[in-house]
């Protein structure tokens, strides 16, 4: 990890962009990918060209997913996983306001030839001479052992589902108490020693966002409460709640463009990329210089029978992705689009 992320010494987790950059070409650092439940084509803007290069140079791409997605098309091997309603997962262990443990157990047996992630991992380990790391047959044994350590059991949790524990630490910092933070000074640092030490601006200055060209809008994206990323659009009940996304347009902008509520348009970015068709939603809930759309729509796999072609994909329109020089994170709200009316 340190090799491919040496430009980001403060980062302790993987940076997707850096991993992809080091997966292309014959001398690439990475030789294979194991992609779990991530549809890379829509999670990382502009990745398709890189994906094609990486797919050519990587020796193996394995995708584990619950349903067909764009990324499964790049895979050498697809390992179909059953959905969260059909499998045991790790215990949910959250401190939060009231500390709780929650069991994640199947509601019904897996349909079709799909398997839980723990089964896939254990079987692969067996083929790789790593079976000693999996000294159990069924993940129920692991969960039961873990629960026995805190005086519960799988049997009890199957019955109650969620177990609450009394809080042992204060919910908030006590007034007047000296709290030590994980910084060189032990205090909240407005002037960051860490940043100064790595050659960054120790007191970050505001960088104004680029303004859209004439006739274009800032492209903002977000989530809808009904859907989880792009993964649930094809669920019949959730599809009914929200069968397609809309592009939110301020009334003043809609009047200027002569587009009406519910009308189909295509979005076009300055590089000439067009989106799938998408309905206009005229609303005061958006700035006049911006548009908004819910992420995760515009699926292209016809096997997702409901989601296929419904709504538009935001990530395909992102021509201007900013990389945070400190942490390597992507800023994906720096792109611009305009609305092109659909000829009736």
């Amino acid at each position: 990890m340190a090799t491919v992320q040496k430009d980001y010494p403060l980062v302790t987790t993987g940076i997707s962009n850096a991993l992809i950059d080091h997966s292309m070409g014959p001398d690439a650092f990475f030789k294979g990918w194991f992609i779990y439940a991530t549809n890379l084509t829509t999670t990382i803007p502009g990745i398709r060209r890189q994906l094609e290069q990486a797919a050519d140079s990587l020796e193996l791409i394995v995708v584990v997913d619950t349903m067909p997605a764009e990324i499964t098309g790049y895979a050498d091997v697809v390992l179909p996983e059953c959905t969260y309603l059909e499998r045991y997962d790790d215990l949910r262990n959250k401190a939060e306001r009231t500390p709780t443990l929650a069991l994640r157990s199947p509601a019904f047996p897996p349909r079709h030839d799909s398997k839980p992630a723990w089964w896939i991992a254990r079987e692969l380990a067996g083929h790789l001479d790593l079976a000693d790391y999996f000294p159990w047959q069924d993940y129920r044994e692991v969960l039961d052992w873990q629960l026995q350590q805190i005086g519960s059991s799988l049997e009890e949790m199957e019955r109650i589902g969620v177990k609450a524990f009394p809080r042992k630490t204060p919910l908030y910092f006590e007034a007047g108490k000296q709290v030590k933070f994980n910084t060189p000074s032990g205090r909240i640092e407005l002037y960051s020693q860490h940043l100064a030490g790595t050659g960054h601006d120790p007191l970050p200055r505001y960088t104004p966002p680029e303004r859209p060209p004439e006739g274009y809008f800032h492209l903002n994206y977000g989530r809808a409460a009904a859907h989880t990323f792009g993964r649930t659009i094809n669920n019949p009940l959730l599809f009914e709640l929200m069968p397609e996304n809309t592009v939110w347009v301020h009334p003043a902008a809609a009047a200027k463009l002569a587009v009406g509520n519910g009308e189909y348009v295509r979005l076009k970015n300055p590089e000439g990329t067009h989106s799938n068709r998408i309905r206009v939603r005229v609303t005061q809930r958006i700035r006049p210089d911006s548009v908004f759309m819910v992420h995760g729509f515009g699926h292209t796999d016809p096997r997702q029978r409901l989601a296929h072609g419904a709504g538009a994909d935001d990530s395909g329109l992102m021509h201007n992705v900013k990389i945070d020089p400190v942490m390597g994170g992507t800023g994906m709200r720096a792109s611009f689009v305009t609305l092109v009316r659909e000829e009736a």
């Binding site: 409460a225 009904a226 009940l237 959730l238 709640l241 609303t283 005061q284 809930r285 958006i286």
Partner: protein
């Protein structure tokens, strides 16, 4: 008489639609039809906006115009309560109740040929359970109980919080309350 009512805290609702999904699953509501739905209402001009999410359904009115206007008696009160049900075998599908309902709370037509609507999940109440929408709500913004019991949770909520009903001017005496 037992007066059942629902109280929904609009300040906690996020409009996720889980109440809609819960109802469709619990009551086997056919695809494309709904017994409940979520309304998003925005007032004001950007950036001074107020947006309200409202989970809406039949108001199980104290004076239900759908009951008084039903020519066959299919629209009726359940036992000695304000819960309005449709007896499918008596319903001819004439749609007089749809015209009479100020809340547009009735399905156009169940595929089996009768007008369907929210039942406050009376089959669950008989088991001592809340309606499916209330028991599913992930934000806990929905409450159900007996309005003419002054000690019920909903009675206490309505005493302590500002609330409204929809179209009270119709005189239908709606029983879905919204905390605002």
């Amino acid at each position: 008489m037992i007066n059942y009512a629902m109280v929904i805290d609009t300040t906690a609702c996020i409009g996720c639609g889980d109440c809609v999904v819960a109802c469709k699953n619990e009551n086997h509501v056919p695809a494309g039809l709904n017994r409940d739905w979520v309304v998003e209402e925005t007032r004001g001009e950007y950036p001074h906006l107020h947006t309200e999410f409202r989970s809406e359904r039949c108001n199980h009115c104290g004076h239900a115009t759908c009951v008084t206007n039903c020519p066959t008696g299919a629209s009726q009160y359940w036992k000695d309560t304000n819960i309005v049900l449709v007896a499918a075998e008596k319903c001819t599908g004439c749609k007089a109740c749809i015209a009479a309902c100020p809340y547009d709370a009735r399905l156009i037509m169940h595929p089996q040929g009768y007008i369907d609507k929210c039942t406050f999940c009376h089959h669950r109440l008989e088991q001592g359970l809340d309606p499916a929408c209330v028991s599913t709500c992930p934000t806990g913004c929905m409450y159900f109980g007996i309005l003419n019991d002054p000690d019920s949770q909903i009675s206490r909520l309505l005493r302590s919080r500002t609330h409204k009903t929809l179209l009270p001017e119709t005189g239908n005496i709606p029983n879905v309350y919204y905390l605002v």
